[in-house]
């Protein structure tokens, strides 16, 4: 019944809903597009992936219930163990970029420094460059025979490795590129964090005769620790999901360094798409999600020991 044909009924209904009721209806209405989109494209896929991971994926897409078999297989699969190790090593190496970014941001934050915005633009360039291009450029720079990196190393008497096809160096080289590509992003976040530190604190520390190193550790670091924490959480979540860089820099699955660089997401891509075993792929993806949740939870727990909120 519409309000037009029966105005009294309409107002009655309005009164029954009340201010709170109307506010709630507006609330549901405004979140509806996002809730629907996230429901269809994010929540439902998680549920479906969980379901598929308990089945086997037939050649024509039919599912057969397996229970925990895929997960048992995960723990026996050496490739899974190795990929988890690779992802963990990659994550640890990329974390080195955080102190580097913090030191550079601290230098950039000096009040009287000239050319600040010039530096910021240069450091930010890799962030706006697509990973496909970043990987391509660095594959060329790191080329064992004709790469610029080995040429420059040769100038100072170092014989550079075949970086991307040597299993001993490939993951290190990729992690270095990962740091290079995200450094500018972290610097911008740190500079923003540093700017919220009041100048009086620095002045007071200087009057007390503290040197720049002492000031950094006793004043700066505690005050930007919330930003450091945020950057660390984001870095770990992203690094555990590394795929693009490794996929592109290894370039072919025949690269001899692949077993030493294959991340957990790369393995998921191989099993789910190249070998078309969707249910095993789903189990790998779920394992990764559990690991990410655990790592994030651990970081949140540990933050109480070193992060200072005002």
């Amino acid at each position: 019944m519409s309000t037009e044909t029966n105005p009294t009924g309409g107002t009655k209904r309005r009164r029954r809903l009340g201010i709170r009721g109307r506010e709630a209806l507006w609330g549901y209405g405004l979140i509806a597009p996002t809730a629907l989109g996230l429901g269809v494209f994010y929540v439902w896929p998680v549920i479906q992936t969980l379901y598929v991971s308990f089945n086997s994926w037939g050649p024509f897409g039919g599912l057969k219930w397996l229970g925990l078999d895929n997960y048992r297989e995960l723990f026996k699969d050496e490739a899974v163990g190795r990929s988890l190790l690779n992802s963990a090593l990659y994550t640890l190496m990329v974390l080195i970029g955080i102190p580097v970014a913090l030191v550079l941001a601290n230098l950039l934050n000096r009040r009287l420094l000239r050319g600040k915005s010039f530096y910021r633009v240069l450091y930010f360039l890799p962030v706006v460059t697509m990973p496909t291009a970043v990987a391509m450029i660095w594959r060329w720079l790191l080329n064992g025979d004709f790469g610029l990196v080995n040429y420059l190393l040769g100038k100072v008497g170092i014989h550079g490795a075949n970086w991307l096809s040597d299993p001993n160096t490939a993951l290190i080289a990729i992690a270095a590129v990962g740091i290079w590509a995200s450094l500018g992003y972290n610097i911008i976040l740190f500079v923003a964090g540093l700017q919220s530190v009041p100048d009086q604190l620095y002045e007071a520390a200087e009057l007390d005769g503290a040197g720049p190193v002492t000031v950094f550790f006793k004043v700066t670091l505690p005050l930007v620790s919330p930003t450091v924490f945020f950057v660390a959480v984001i870095t770990v979540i992203n690094a555990l999901q590394v795929f693009d860089l490794i996929y592109l820099m290894m370039s072919t699955s025949a690269n001899p360094a692949l077993p030493a660089t294959r991340s957990i997401v790369y393995l998921f891509y191989q099993r789910a798409f190249m070998e078309n075993d969707r249910s095993y792929g789903a189990a790998i993806a779920f394992l990764l999600m559990i690991i990410i949740v655990i790592c994030t939870a651990v970081q949140f727990r540990l933050q109480k020991r070193w992060v200072h909120y005002e």
Binding site: I31, G37, Y42, V103, L113, L122, V128, M130, I137, M289
Partner: protein, 278 residues
């Protein structure tokens, strides 16, 4: 010169030295990319490498353009990026506003579900998302690439933080004037969260422009492809022809780099704002 001024000066020279070395590490790869894109294959594999090509090989760029339907790839990438950005700004700001300023039963639970989605690896979603797009018949279409990325838990969370930071008196005053929430969202709230909207726009646009795996999975015909997977296909074709590969990478990245240099303040402030509210 006082001793204090001397130390400041020395510290500033030291800072410049460190920052300049870092800046070189950031920029030299791009310079080397540009130089290589103008060399012949022979010149690119010379040992020791020459600094400048004898005759700039503009034909490397011709080869990129004849091999990739660059015009349509550029258009597709731009369409997808703009579509996702506009949609996220609209949907995330509506939802973020509701979560921050309206009270309704279940609000905290729904918001907690959104937050939990932030930890779900995006790769986990690809197969089911593919099946949804398949079932509505949008495989191999530009709108098929666009659709899932039009919604974002991160964007909703980010804008909610911005809306939550505004004083409560604002909507009370507007409500007494008889404005409904949609009206308040549009004319009172949105203008005040402009930094948040700029941040989300920058991040969504960049993410979309660089997205690799999703368009690779959804698109099969080259004329519907976006730049990132297109460039990757160039790599499998010209495996060691680095001058052509560098030319391709240059062509694919120059538009965003140009936009960035023009709007650098907005980019950098946007990223900083997103980090501070996150």
């Amino acid at each position: 010169m006082s001793s204090r001024a001397m130390t400041t000066r020395r510290a500033s020279i030291g800072s410049h030295a460190v920052l300049a070395v870092g800046a070189l590490v950031m920029v030299v790869p791009f310079i080397w990319q540009i130089i290589t894109s103008l060399k012949t294959i022979g010149e690119s594999t010379q040992v020791p490498p020459g600094l400048w090509p004898a005759h700039p090989q503009w034909s490397n760029f011709d080869q990129v353009f004849t091999d990739l339907p660059f015009g349509s790839m550029f258009l597709n990438t731009a369409l997808v990026a703009v579509g996702r950005t506009v949609a996220q700004l609209l949907f995330c700001s509506l939802a973020g506003y509701a979560f921050a300023r309206l009270r309704f039963p279940g609000r905290n639970i729904i918001f907690a579900v959104f937050l939990a989605l932030l930890m779900v690896p995006s790769y986990l979603l690809i197969i089911p998302q593919y099946q949804v797009i398949q079932s509505i018949g949008w495989l191999n279409t530009v709108q098929g690439i666009m659709l899932p990325g039009m919604f974002s838990a991160f964007g909703t969370f980010l804008l909610r933080q911005f809306f939550a930071g505004l004083p409560p008196s604002l909507d009370e005053a507007a409500r007494i004037d008889g404005a409904n929430p949609l009206r308040i969202w549009w004319s009172v709230m949105l203008p005040l969260v402009r930094p948040g909207l700029a941040a989300l726009a920058v991040l969504t646009f960049l993410w979309s422009w660089n997205d690799l795996l999703w368009p690779l999975v959804v698109i099969t015909s080259p004329d519907k492809m976006t730049l990132s997977p297109g460039l990757a296909s160039l790599q499998s074709q010209f495996t060691t022809n680095y001058p052509v590969l560098m030319a391709g990478a240059l062509v694919a990245t120059v538009p965003v780099i140009a936009v960035f240099i023009v709007l650098q303040r907005q980019f950098i402030e946007g990223v900083a704002a997103a980090g501070n509210k996150g």
